[in-house]
Structures are given as C-alpha cells and as structure tokens.
C-alpha cells in the first residue's frame, strides 16, 4: 500500500521529475541559470535543462567537491547555479566545499539533493541521503526545503530561483502521491495546512505528508481530529504555524524520511519547547543505516507508515 492510498490520493510524478521540468522552463525566463552536474544529471534531472540550454549546463565529472566550488565561483560572477547530485553525495562528499564555497560567502547557489531518504530502495544505504537535512540545517544562512509532491516541487523550484541566497532542496526518487492542486500557494518559510483538526497536529514533509494525510483519515474514523501540516521549509521554520498548533491542539507528532537527529523533528521540538510545551512523538528512520529492498517494503520495515503515525498519535494524545 502506497502512502496516500488510504485517502484516495493519486500517485503523481516523482519530485525530481517535477523539478527537472520546472527548471527547464525557468531556464527560458532566467538566462542567469546554469547547472553544475557530477555525472548524475540523468538521475537528478538537471539533464532536462542542460539539453535545452547546452551552453549553460556544465558536467565536471564524478568530482563533487570540485562541482560545488565551481558552482560557488559561477555565482560570484552573477549566475544562478543549480548544483545537483544525490543528496548523500552532495551533502556528505562535499560538505566542506558547501560550507566554504557557498554558505560562508552566502553565494546565490541552489543545491538540489535527489534520491533522498530510504525510498530509493534497491540501491541501498550507500546511496540513501538520510542525514542531509541535518547537515544542511547546520549551515548558517542556508534555506532548507523538503517538498512533498510534484506541484509543490515545481513551485518550490521557482521560489528558490527567485530567492536571493543559498538554498538546499531535498527531492526523492519514487513517484509520490499528489497533495496539492495548481491553485495552492507555496511560499518559502510558510507551512501549508493540508487538513484542519483540533485534537492533535501531525507535522510532516516529503513523502510523509501523504502518510500523515492517511493517518488523519483513519484517525477521523475513530473520532480523533488530526491537523496535518506540510512543513516544506525546515529552515527558516514556520514558528507561527507551530505555536498555533501548540495552542489549538494537545499534542504534536513529527513525521519525516530522515534520521532522528537534526531533522524536522529536532527543528519543531526546538520551537515547541520555547512556546507552550505539549507532548511530542516522532516518526523517522531512527538512528541507523537502512538496507537494500523494494521501496514500499523498506518504508514498512523502517516504520515510515500511516500506521506508525497513528501509533505515535495515540501515545501522546
């Protein structure tokens, strides 16, 4: 059973596919956009842009450190580099370069990490970026976004290009449920309430938003009213939306496809602990490397399911 199925959400595009299409279109409008690739453009989908704008697509080979600093240099000559790789390789292989060539000088570079989370499946733990949000959030001045579906990813892609400054956007490999329609708004730093509720709040991002919607659907059948918030921007986090949830609902559950430490859960907890503390529970990958397997089987085995969210809600409510 896929995330979103219980609520009858349709399966749409993968977020990386939506990003690739959006970037190509934005490339027509913004001549400053360039892509910097480390030999994975056909996976990250920057290739779609690079094929349409060959003179603006640079592939430096399997050399992530170099790739990231080249992007920093391009930004300092007025271009808007989009540097993309698997989240694991971008953040982990080139962290010092991100820190020194992008974050510290506050370069207008858009970093895109695809194949994030365990839902990449069969390729296994070496390819799974499950610590990327934590690493990205540790960089002063970097905006960190994790999008849930195709429509919001397209809007996030446009928003990050329009935004002046360094951004990290986390994307996934598999096709995911459609959460949004075209008329829904997307603003960096402003969470979207997907479903109203007044007993408990489920804050999620990435593909766990669909899981949260499923959990809320099931909980409603039991008479529990769950609010679902898509916290697509982890940094700067939407403090108002969280504080409102602490006032209006009695508990908060945070669900994300990331390690327990340093991700969305940590970011929300920091706000809650300084507002009106309410009981909290967390659904995430925990503190382990996952394994190879089919994506759905992995999500089930590592507890990234609607059932796990429901269990967490019942623990704190």
């Amino acid at each position: 059973m896929y995330l979103g199925e219980i609520s009858g959400l349709k399966v749409g595009q993968a977020t990386r596919d939506a990003f690739g299409e959006a970037l190509k279109e934005l490339g027509d409008k913004y001549p400053e956009i360039v892509t910097v690739d480390g030999d994975v453009g056909n996976s990250t989908r920057t290739e779609v842009f690079a094929k349409a704008h060959p003179e603006r697509g640079f592939n430096v080979g399997i050399a992530e450190s170099n790739m990231v600093s080249v992007a920093g240099g391009l930004a300092s000559t007025g271009h808007i580099p989009v540097v993309a790789s698997f989240a694991a390789f971008l953040l982990c292989n080139a962290y010092d370069q991100i820190r020194m060539s992008i974050a510290f000088p506050s370069m207008n570079v858009k970093m895109v990490g695809t194949h994030a989370g365990i839902s990449i499946g069969e390729d296994g733990p070496s390819q799974m970026g499950i610590e990327d949000v934590s690493l990205a959030c540790s960089l002063p001045g970097v905006v960190v976004m994790v999008t849930a579906d195709a429509v919001s990813t397209k809007k996030a892609t446009a928003a990050m290009i329009e935004y002046e400054g360094p951004v990290y956007l986390r994307l996934g490999r598999p096709n995911v449920a459609e959460i949004y329609s075209e008329d829904d708004t997307f603003e960096i730093g402003k969470a979207n309430t997907i479903r109203e509720g007044d007993d408990v709040t489920i804050i999620a991002n990435g593909l766990m938003v669909a899981g949260a919607v499923d959990a809320a659907t099931k909980l409603a059948e039991e008479g529990i009213s769950a609010r679902v918030i898509d916290m697509h921007t982890v940094k700067p986090i939407d403090v108002d939306a969280i504080q409102k949830a602490t006032r209006e609902t009695s508990a908060i559950v945070v669900a994300e496809e990331h390690l327990a430490h340093g991700g969305l859960g940590s970011a929300v907890a920091m706000v809650v602990s300084q507002a009106t503390p309410v009981p909290m529970a967390y659904v995430n990958v925990g503190d382990c490397f996952a394994e190879s397997g089919d994506p759905q089987g992995l999500l089930d085995k590592y507890g990234l399911t609607a059932a796990a969210i429901i269990e967490a809600v019942k623990k704190v409510k």
Binding site: V68, G73, S76, F104
Partner: protein, 280 residues
C-alpha cells in the same frame, strides 16, 4: 578606470616588493599571529599581478564587472594580499594594521563578505582552483574578457579537489584561467618532499593538458616574463610553477631562528626590527 595601464618596471616592482614585505611583517607582528613566511614567498607573484600590468581592476569600484579576479587559494597567506590591495588603493596601509583584531574586516583568512575586492573566501585549502573555474566559466558566459588568477600552495596540492579542478579546467579549455603554484617546498609540519612528495608539478600538470612553465618565483623579472608568456596563451588553462623560498626576503633572520619553514607564527618585535632593517 582600469589600473592595468600604469604597469611598473622591473626596478619599480622590486621597490614595491620591499614595501609589501615590510607591510607583511609589520601587520603580522602587530597582530601577534599569522603566516608571514607563507606570505613572503608569494610576494613577487602577487606584486607582478597587481602592479606589473597583468590584472585589470579598479580599487574605487571593486565590483566593476569586467575586472580580472585574484583568488588566494592558500588563504593563510592573506597578509600579502592585504598589503597589495592597500598599495593598490582599496584601503589604507593603516587599515591593514588591524589584521586579526576583533571588528576588523582584515580577518585571518580572506572573507569576501567583509572586504570588497576579495574575490573568494578561502582558508580551507584545496577549493580556490575550482572557484576560479566557476569564475572563468562565468566570465566566458558574460563575454566580458575577465581573467582569473589563482595562487595555490605546494602543500595544498595534496588536496584531491585540486586535481579534479585541473581536469575540469582542461575540459572547458579555460584560456582565461591561470594557476600559480607557490612551490616554497614547505608545508605545515615540514618539508613537502617528506610530508607528501608529489614529484614534478610540471610533468603532472602538463599531462592534464595545461600550458606549464617552471620559474624562479622569487626573481621579479622571471615572474613578469612568465606572466607575459601565459597572457598570450588563450586556448587552454595555464600553470606557472613558481619555485620560491618560504620567508624569502628575510631568510638570514629566519636562519637565525633555526626554523626555515617558520610556518604560522609572527616574528617577535625584536626579530621584526631585524627583518625590516634587512629588507631596507
């Protein structure tokens, strides 16, 4: 107004080199920390670039789009850059005496956010050449004829990223990019041949498809001539292996201390006096 027009003669450059050396010693001794020996080895290269007519810049308009760009990849040697920029009129020589003090933009390593005219924030070794590639690619897209010069340490060449960058620069045939390797034969913990001997830079870098020259990098005339040759090569990236001595210009003073590397420490006020007298 580009400063390229008024290039100094070799003799004038030699005098300017003394001015830079004195500034390097005075500011690091005043700061009580820093890397004077790493700065001194690169004086002739920095001097020729900034005052020998090889770089277009406008100190009154540091963000001028068509300017050439200088990246000090070995960022710990930044006193030589602050000295040159002071002489070029970006700020006063008094200003640079605040080196490393709280509130001063003259940080221990270059910080482009705090000091206009600094083209890259460096200090974590290995990244400058890649940044230079990005700027050279950007200049090419901008069609503004801007050139990029990157100074790299010989110990720094141990960083794998530099070799990634060497390959990438050749792929894009970056004729507007020049790398200068300050081969002063020492790095932090000792002689480069003992810490990590990379053999001949000339052989290795030319094997990457670059135009290469090896020169006496503390001979002002040799540096100027090498930069002239490099400026005429426009179909591929260019490297100058600049064989230097760490602490050049005050070597007898360093010999007295028994430490010919003298890495990462300022001269005491007494030694600084001796060094300044020696330079004069």
């Amino acid at each position: 107004m580009a400063a390229q027009a008024n290039a100094l003669s070799i003799e004038e450059l030699k005098d300017k080199g003394k001015v830079l050396r004195r500034l390097i010693i005075r500011m690091t001794t005043e700061a009580g920390s820093g890397h004077p020996s790493s700065s001194l080895s690169a004086v002739e290269v920095v001097n020729a670039l900034w005052f020998g007519g090889f770089m277009k810049y406008d100190s009154q308009n540091p963000t001028w789009e068509a300017r050439d760009r200088f990246i000090l990849s070995k960022g710990h040697a930044v006193p030589v850059l602050y000295a040159a920029m002071a002489e070029a009129g970006y700020f006063s020589t008094d200003d640079v005496m605040t080196l490393r003090k709280l509130g001063s933009p003259f940080e221990g390593h270059p910080n482009m956010k705090r000091l206009p005219g600094i083209e890259a924030s460096t200090g974590s070794l290995g990244q400058g050449l890649s940044l230079g590639i990005g700027q050279a690619l950007g200049a090419r897209l901008n069609k503004n004829g801007s050139n990029v010069f990157v100074v790299i340490g010989d110990g720094e060449m141990g960083e794998g990223q530099v070799w990634e960058a060497l390959a990438t620069a050749e792929k894009y045939k970056l004729g507007n990019l020049t790398a200068i390797i300050d081969q002063n034969t020492y790095q932090q913990t000792g002689a480069t041949k003992d810490v990590l001997d990379l053999g001949s830079f000339e052989e290795k870098i030319s094997a990457f498809g670059w135009h290469t020259q090896t020169i006496d990098g503390n001979c002002q005339k040799a540096v100027v001539e090498a930069l002239e040759v490099a400026s005429k090569v426009t179909d591929r990236p260019k490297a100058i292996i600049s064989k230097t001595k760490k602490g050049f210009g005050i070597l007898p003073v360093l010999e007295e201390t028994g430490d010919l590397n003298y890495h990462g420490k300022p001269l005491s006020p007494e030694l600084a006096e001796k060094a300044l007298a020696f330079i004069a």
